[in-house]
Each structure stands twice: as structure tokens, then as C-alpha cells.
């Protein structure tokens, strides 16, 4: 049982007069466990999350962005559960970007992990208020009352009062000082499956995404940006553009030199999107390609590969002496892995509608991090944050791209210049060619095996342009947290280990993409230990379990220490589900991989066949231990989706650059897996009472190496680079 102490009425309850016809409850909480990025403080301003109307209607506010992870349903269901509310009365309101709602940054698989408990407290406090109001009315003790399905019930005589009928009385009650949270056995919604509150909007085309935002007299803009990153406009001719029907204006935009500042370029403003696209096609622009204009990703891969083949900067912790272990080895195994850049390619391209007028600014956009957008907008316009309103629409996918609101600044800049609402639309080509790319990576792994086939030494070198370079130009080495995504803190019990990081300078904007550095480190590590198992002549599953070693908890990693028992458990369940070790049809293979990321444990087995050199996926079994589950079906859906996302990375994901320009442009050359390529996906969730951990991202990292390992199992061929389409397999 947890309790909330010393909450002042001033901070807690706000009554908004009769006009609103209801009781609005806010709450102050601090999020000591939250990982705070840039300007987010650790102390939260008073918040408004619960609004109960006299007719019983309950409006619950979702502070995090909805991009497919079901957060609008899951977070609010936790409030409703603790409040003993009837879900049929609930509607969900999306918070605007505002610090009063606490940290709203929807990435890092952290929403449930960090704010489930505060949301539960919000509901529990509302319930306590309603119970207190009823008890006063009945002149009984609060302990004689309980709440159930939108009613407060008098336990002595079974009389009951509807929540809505308690609104006026509850307004007069002082906030209780001792609130308790429910026991797991009493949950109505938490841990169960609750369909999306937005499902009907999704099936009727009535959900408003950023691209669907509309204002009277709005204009549509499409921007030509330099093919090479940070290149600039030398000159341009707009004559042919202005001849296109519907085109109204052509405006040059300057780059804003900030992490999420706009790239700049030439904007075409029109009365509709199509005219703007046509107008842009007709622009004649001469670019100064700038210092990134020579970027050749093929040559660059050679460069960072050479670097990982040589000594590099040590990334602590170093344990024992790998060289000594190598010199005593019975066998030495080494391998190099190479992975390309990726683009997020959410189905809804980046976009923003902005209206700057009368010293104020209002934005409608699909944003993962609306507070950063708000701060950047205020800074760009030189106005106060209170004069900037950021409306968060539905996100047609995010995957990290929509954490970076460069597109908002573009819309604001244009709206200000033409004094009208402007929607900036990124075409798919813009999205693929001007992203904040998932970085490209080379890894070298070397290990020693003793006579019994145990690993005695482990050297892991990695090189990749860092996300830090987007924030600090000149940052040419990886950030600690990037290496810490499973590389220098792998879960293995090996006596001698050394980790190294080689220099890698960026030539494009680098950003985070679903599961970030875990994508390539999981591929390197899971592929390499499969190779080691083969050299040691051991079963890959047993070899992996053995490498993880005995049960132990890395207590130093508070608040979610790695527990090797949980990791081995997911591996064992996945293997069991896939009937690991069974006889397989001709040309078939099973591959297994696992990863610990965002504090969650995932293992994945894939069955493939390679017949006539063509790869086919036959089945995916994936197992997740993310501690306590909030909405079961959401979690299953995320894991299914992660399997598909991981399959796209394995089969097709590749962004390349030549002469500074991205060579891919749309879904014909930046391919996604499609329905006919995706086999049945079985997901198992481990029952757990542990604190909730990440869900959105952890399912991705094991998929690609499980596929590569399965191909090895089927064919004896080892593929050490992705995508597999490069090897002619698809």
C-alpha cells in the first residue's frame, strides 16, 4: 500500500465554477524516476487530469502522445480503475503541450514506466474525495463506504449514490491526506484488455492526425530542402512555379542552427497541397551543398570498419585482461558487423499547421514532445511560452521522428511571413531524404573460447555517428547512454571483457529511432554469440543461457536492475513455444536472439526457410517480461508490431548517401515488409508483479539477429550485414 501525504488543498483541488458543471481535480506529483531530457524539470506543476461532470461523465486527460501504443486508453484506464469509475462514462482529452502536465516527452518507452503510479494516485484521490462526500451526507464514517462502478456504496445498508450526484458535495471536501492504492486482485482495468477509446474514429476516418488539421483560409506549403544536410540556397528561379494554378507565394527560409531547428530552403505556398507539390517541382534551385556534400555512405562504412579493426577509445568498465585471455585461448573467433542508416518512415509524414497572429502562436501537429516544440516556437518568435499553444493531434506513427519538431518551426516561420495559417506538408520523399537518421554502425567482436567451449575473453568495438552530434556539433564519439544500450553492459558472465568506441563523425542529422542503439548492438551481439556457439559446437540456446550465467541482480542499476533470471526465463519460454530443437523441414532453420532494453526482457525465435536462395519467414515467437502489464492487448499489439518493424529492418531497411544526397526516396526503394511477408506471430507475456518497464521499443532488437541466426541454421551461411536484400535473399 502506498500513501499520499501532505497534499495541500490549494495544490490539489480546483473548482472551476458552475459553468463547467463539474468537479475538476488536479494533482501535484514529482517524478523522481523520470529520465529528464534538456529543459524538463524534476518538479511538476499542479496538473489537471480528472474532470467529473454532474451527469457522471468523466473526462480524463492524457498527457502523452498517441502514436499507436494505445496510451490514451491505458494511462486513463489506470485513473479510472483507482477511482472505481465505470469506463462507459469516460472520455479522453488530449493535453496541450504544457509543463503543468508533467514531462510529456513520449519516447524512450517510458510513459507507463514513469507515470503509471502518479496516474493511479490521481484516480485514488478522486475516489477518496467522493467517498468522503458521501460519508458526510450519510453521517457515517468513510470506512463504512466503498466505491464501485461509478457509485459510492454505504456498506451498512447497501444504499448508493451516483458519482455525478456527489460533484457538488465533493467540491466542499478537504483533500484526504492518506490515500491508498488498490491491490492487484481488485483491479478492474489494470492488467486486463481494454479496447482503444479511439477505435471508432480509426475505423471511420474521423481521427484527426496532424495532416487533417484544418483552419479557415489556411494555406498549404511544401519546401525544397538542399539534398545534402545543411546545404544552402545559392539562387533560385520561381518563374515556372508561379505559373502553377493555386500557387500563391514562394518564400526562402533560412536554416535555424539548433538541434531541432529547420533546415531552411525554398517554400512554395499554395491553396492546396497538390499545387504546392507541383510548384516545388517547377523550382529551379542552385544549391551550395556545403561541408556534407561529399558524404558517401559506402566509403564511410569502409572508414568506420577500418577504425573498429584497430584499437579505439576504451569504454569502461574493463574487466580482467582480454589480451591475456586471448593468448591462452583454445579458439579465437572474430567477426565484423555492418548496419546502414535507417529512416523512421511513419505512415503520416512530418507536418504542422501553425497560425501566428497578434503576438500569439497556435500549432496543430503530430508531436511526441510538444513541450520542446512549444519552447522552440517561443524562442523562434521571441514571444513568451504562454503565448504559444501546442495542440497535439493523433500521430500517424512516430518511431522517434516526431520528437524532433523542425517541421513546426517551418510552419511557424511561414505563417508569420504571410500572416495566415500555414500547413507545412512533408512529402514521402522529404521524409526519406531529410530525416534525423538512425545512425550507421560498424562493430568488431573478438572472443576466446577455452577447451570446454566457454567464453574467457570478449572484446567489442563499435563505431557510429552519435545522436549527441545533433545536440553538440563536433561530438564524434558515442554518448555513454548509447554504448550503455546493451554494449558495455551486456548481461554476460565473462571473466575478461573490454569495450571500445571508435570515432565516427556525422554527415547527416542523427536521431533516435525505435529502440535506438539496441538495434545494431543486438544484431552484433546476438549474431556473434550464435557464431561462438557454432565454433564451440554447442546448441545456441544452451550456449546463450550458459553465457548469461547464474542468477544475479545488478543492484547498481537502480531503479530497474538487470535480473539475469528474468532474461533466461524469456529465452526458455521462447524456445519452448517454438519447440526448439525439433526436426525441421528441408531448407528450414530456427534462430534465437534476446535483448534487454528499456528495462524489459525479450527473447525471439524465428523460423525461416531458404529455398532456391529465397528467404521466407514462417513463424515468429516472441516473449516479453515488462513487469506489471497495464493493458494486455496493447502490449500484445506492440510486440506484434515490433516483430514487423524488426523484420523490415532485417529484410529491407537501408538508407544510403552519395554526393551528400540520400539515394532512396519512397517506399519503392525504401521498402517495408508487407502482409504477404509476415508470418504468424505468437506473443507471450510473462506474468509479473515487478514495476512496469518499457513496451514500445524492446520488441525490436532481437528480431533481425533471430532471422540471421535462423538463416545460418537453415543454410550454414552467416550474414553479417543488413539488410538481407543486399544479399539477394529477398
Amino acid at each position: 500500500m502506498e500513501s499520499i501525504q501532505n497534499m495541500s488543498r490549494r495544490n490539489f483541488v480546483k473548482v472551476f465554477g458552475l459553468a463547467s458543471g463539474g468537479l475538476i481535480i488536479g494533482c501535484q506529483f514529482s517524478s523522481e524516476k523520470d529520465i529528464v531530457r534538456i529543459d524538463d524539470g524534476t518538479t511538476f506543476a499542479p496538473n489537471l487530469f480528472v474532470q467529473l461532470k454532474k451527469d457522471g461523465k468523466l473526462i480524463l486527460v492524457c498527457s502523452r502522445s498517441e502514436m499507436g501504443q494505445g496510451i490514451r486508453t491505458s494511462l486513463t484506464s489506470a485513473i479510472a480503475d483507482e477511482m472505481e469509475a465505470d469506463w462507459n462514462y469516460v472520455s479522453v482529452e488530449q493535453a496541450t503541450g504544457d509543463k503543468k502536465f508533467g514531462n510529456q516527452n513520449t519516447d524512450g518507452s517510458r510513459s507507463v514506466r514513469t507515470i503509471l503510479e502518479p496516474m493511479r494516485k490521481m484516480g485514488a484521490t478522486a475516489k477518496a474525495l467522493l467517498i468522503a462526500a458521501a460519508a458526510k451526507k450519510w453521517q457515517v464514517a468513510e470506512t463504512d463506504c466503498k466505491a464501485e462502478m461509478h457509485y459510492v456504496i454505504n456498506k451498512n445498508n447497501d444504499k448508493k449514490i451516483f458519482f455525478g450526484d456527489l460533484v457538488e458535495d465533493a467540491m466542499k471536501i478537504d483533500v484526504p491526506t492518506n490515500i491508498s492504492l488498490k491491490d492487484k486482485k481488485d483491479f478492474n482495468y489494470i492488467g486486463k484488455t481494454l479496447g482503444s477509446v479511439d477505435i471508432k474514429d480509426f475505423t471511420h476516418g474521423s481521427a484527426t492526425y496532424g495532416l487533417d488539421a484544418r483552419l479557415p483560409n489556411m494555406k498549404f506549403a511544401v519546401i525544397a530542402r538542399c539534398p545534402s544536410t545543411f546545404g544552402t540556397v545559392k539562387s533560385f528561379d520561381k518563374t515556372a512555379t508561379l505559373k502553377i494554378a493555386g500557387v500563391e507565394n514562394v518564400i526562402e527560409l533560412e536554416r535555424v542552427k539548433k538541434p531541432f531547428g529547420m533546415l531552411g530552403g525554398v517554400a512554395v505556398i499554395a491553396s492546396n497541397t497538390w499545387s504546392a507539390i507541383q510548384g516545388r517541382n517547377n523550382l529551379d534551385i542552385h544549391w551550395d551543398k556545403g561541408s556534407n556534400g561529399q558524404y558517401d555512405s559506402k566509403k564511410y562504412m569502409q572508414k568506420i570498419t577500418n577504425r573498429v579493426h584497430n584499437n579505439a577509445k576504451v569504454a569502461p568498465p574493463t574487466k580482467g585482461n582480454v589480451n591475456a585471455a586471448f593468448s591462452k585461448a583454445s579458439q579465437i573467433v572474430e567477426a565484423t558487423y555492418q548496419l546502414p542508416h535507417l529512416a523512421h518512415a511513419p505512415m503520416e509524414t512530418p507536418n504542422a499547421l501553425a497560425w501566428v497572429h497578434d503576438g500569439k502562436c497556435e500549432v496543430w501537429a503530430p508531436l511526441q514532445d510538444p513541450q520542446t516544440a512549444r519552447a522552440d516556437a517561443a524562442a523562434y518568435l521571441g514571444i513568451e511560452m504562454k503565448d504559444v499553444t501546442i495542440n497535439v493531434t493523433f500521430l500517424g506513427g512516430g518511431f522517434g521522428r516526431k520528437s524532433k519538431p523542425d517541421f513546426v518551426i517551418e510552419a511557424i516561420a511561414l505563417s508569420k511571413k504571410i500572416n495566415a495559417p500555414v500547413q507545412v506538408v512533408w512529402t514521402r520523399e522529404d521524409d526519406i531524404q531529410h530525416s534525423y537518421y538512425h545512425t550507421t554502425n560498424a562493430q568488431y567482436l573478438k572472443a576466446s573460447l577455452d577447451k570446454s567451449g566457454d567464453v574467457t575473453g570478449w572484446l567489442h568495438r563499435t563505431a557510429f555517428p552519435s545522436i549527441n552530434s545533433t545536440f553538440m556539433p563536433g561530438a564524434n564519439y558515442a554518448a555513454g547512454w548509447e554504448i550503455g544500450q546493451g554494449m558495455n553492459n551486456n548481461p554476460f558472465d565473462i571473466p575478461n571483457t573490454r569495450y571500445e568506441n571508435a570515432k565516427a563523425e556525422p554527415f547527416v542529422r542523427i536521431g533516435w529511432l525505435r529502440s535506438v542503439c539496441a538495434i545494431f548492438h543486438s544484431f552484433g551481439i546476438n549474431s556473434f554469440i550464435d557464431e561462438l556457439a557454432d565454433k564451440a559446437k554447442k546448441d545456441p540456446l544452451q550456449f546463450k543461457l550458459n553465457l548469461i550465467g547464474k542468477d544475479r541482480i545488478r543492484e547498481e542499476e537502480s531503479p530497474h536492475p538487470l535480473n539475469t533470471k528474468r532474461l533466461k526465463n524469456v529465452l526458455n519460454i521462447a524456445a519452448k513455444n517454438a519447440k526448439w530443437g525439433r526436426e525441421l523441414p528441408e531448407g528450414h532453420g530456427l534462430g534465437i536472439a534476446f535483448y534487454y532494453s528499456f528495462y524489459s526482457y525479450v527473447a525471439t525465435v524465428v523460423e525461416v526457410s531458404v529455398i532456391n536462395d529465397k528467404l521466407k519467414l514462417h513463424h515468429i515467437w516472441t516473449v516479453l517480461d515488462c513487469g506489471m502489464v497495464l493493458n494486455k492487448d496493447n502490449v500484445l499489439n506492440q510486440m506484434e508490431g515490433a516483430s514487423v518493424f524488426g523484420s523490415s529492418i532485417a529484410l529491407y531497411g537501408k538508407i544510403t548517401a552519395k554526393d551528400g544526397a540520400i539515394e532512396q526516396s519512397n517506399f519503392h526503394d525504401y521498402k517495408m515488409t508487407r502482409m504477404n511477408e509476415i508470418p504468424p506471430i505468437d506473443v507471450t507475456l510473462v506474468e509479473s508483479d515487478e514495476a512496469p518497464t518499457g513496451v514500445g521499443e524492446p520488441g525490436v532488437p532481437p528480431v533481425a539477429p533471430a532471422i540471421a541466426n535462423a538463416i545460418f541454421n537453415a543454410t550454414g551461411k552467416r550474414y553479417r550485414s543488413l539488410p538481407l536484400s543486399d544479399h539477394g535473399l529477398v
Partner: protein, 133 residues
């Protein structure tokens, strides 16, 4: 002007989505005389005199599909689902009881980046059951 932009920016029905503009993803799918087409790649003139159904519309098959979609909780972000539903409606218009293979053949032109494919497959079968009930 392609039908997609006329529907979205001129008519003002925004349920039909832009995803690629080059007939690669299916987000812009609409029904013309009951058959699925990519509205991003067809000129407005193509629609003259024809019956156009967007996701805002109502047909028997669409209604069964919606019910199945809702029951199985298919969507994640939901953005591609307008096109998925339209493509599925077109499939059921010509094939009232599709096999998994028929579904794959009909639906593989529609990309879902969230990866709801297994649920879409399941929901199409479910819609058939609902219809035959």
C-alpha cells in the same frame, strides 16, 4: 489534380490519407464503383460520373469489417487503417470468403508501419463470419 488532394483539400474529407503519392502504400485507397483504387495516382477526371466511396462512407461490407476491426482491436496508430478497410471492403465485394492467400494477395499493397498485418488478416476472416451469421 489527383483525386486524393481534391478529396482532402477541396472537398474537405480527411479520412483518406496521404502516405506516398506514388501508389506504393495504399493509405489513399478509395472505392470507385465498389473497386479499390489509389486516389493519389488518379486524376479527378477519372471519378466523373462514378460512385466514389471513401472511409467516411457506409457499405455493408465496410460495416462488417469495422465491427471486426473493433472487436479485434486492429489499429495501432490508425493512420493506414482507412486504406486497409477500403482494400478489405473491395476484396469482400468480389470474394465473399477469402483464404489467407487471397487476403495476402489483396492486402499486400497496403503498408502498415505499426505492423498490424496479423490482426488485419484475422479481422477480415472475422468480418466474413459476422456477415454470414
Amino acid at each position: 489534380m489527383p483525386l486524393l488532394w481534391a478529396i482532402r483539400d477541396i472537398v474537405g474529407l480527411t479520412g483518406t490519407k496521404y502516405g506516398c503519392g506514388v501508389s506504393q502504400c495504399g493509405a489513399c485507397s478509395i472505392l470507385i464503383d465498389g473497386e479499390v483504387v489509389r486516389s493519389c495516382s488518379l486524376p479527378v477526371s477519372y471519378g466523373i460520373g462514378k460512385q466514389i466511396t471513401t472511409i467516411e462512407g457506409k457499405t455493408d461490407n465496410l460495416e462488417y469489417l469495422r465491427e471486426a476491426w473493433e472487436e479485434i482491436n486492429v489499429p495501432q496508430c490508425g493512420y493506414c487503417q482507412s486504406g486497409q478497410l477500403i482494400a478489405a471492403a473491395s476484396l469482400l465485394n468480389t470474394n465473399p470468403n477469402p483464404s489467407d492467400q487471397d487476403i495476402d494477395d489483396a492486402m499486400s499493397g497496403n503498408i502498415c508501419r505499426c505492423g498490424t498485418y496479423p490482426r488485419i488478416r484475422k479481422a477480415i476472416h472475422k468480418a466474413v463470419k459476422l456477415k454470414n451469421k
